[in-house]
Amino acid sequence: MRYVVSLTIVLIALWLAVSGVYKPLLFVLGAGSVALVVWLSLRMEVVGVEHNPVLYSWRLPLYWAWLVGEVVKTNFHVAMLALTPSRIRPHIIDVPVPHRHAVAKVTYANSCTLTPGTVALHLTPETLTVHALDDRSADDLKTGAMAQRIAWLEGSERVDAQ
């Protein structure tokens, strides 16, 4: 029930933010759409299934801020490599995935793909196989800085990152 209420509130907020036209008819249509989506979600049995503290933690904005910094840094690096393509040394590496929750593991793989220079090829519960564009991109991942940030996001105190 908690998840139904929170989903409804989020959908109403989204509708109000995106609509911008506040007339009685549109309110009714908006309420109808929200009700329809909530009903469909209930029928699909997806309400609360993907729920995880990771998704709603106050740590998430801080993690995003750090991730944007990383994305900017690696973008400059890959842009430099685009100008001098002879310097790339593509290779494939495995890194350990020290997280407990599925959402955290997927966040790790997605964050890794989001930073140019590393693309997640394959994710198993224990390891992440990554295609790295050059040594620097691979080293960024091998240090485990990103894995530790996500472990912090997940809320666990310590992980044995490599």
């Binding site: 994305v71 890959v78 593509p90 140019p116 220079g117 693309v119 394959h122």
Partner: protein
Amino acid sequence: MAETVINVLSAIFLLAGGAFGILGGLGLLRFPDFYSRLHAAGVTETLCAVLIVLGLVLQSGFSLLTIKLLLILLFLLFTAPTATHALARAAMVDEVEPEVIAKQSSENRPAPGEPSSNI
């Protein structure tokens, strides 16, 4: 005065975004194989998109339009890596061999013919 500053900032963001778009396209053309080209595409779908949306946010002022632009950015940043990963995995399943310097792992790679999402 404030308007001029905002316009100049916005122009800088938009131009920088465009420049990264061009660099990404250049990488797409110049990198040797499929997998390294994914990294070049990563430049256009991250920093290029972020800079262009920020430039547009400055143009739109603070309004509902800002929220819409930021939502576009949010969805883009969630879907782009997913699409990249799906492409990479589809290529591996189809046995597109990456040109690599050193191969450290082979046992974790999806076998040919394996469905592209099985976790």
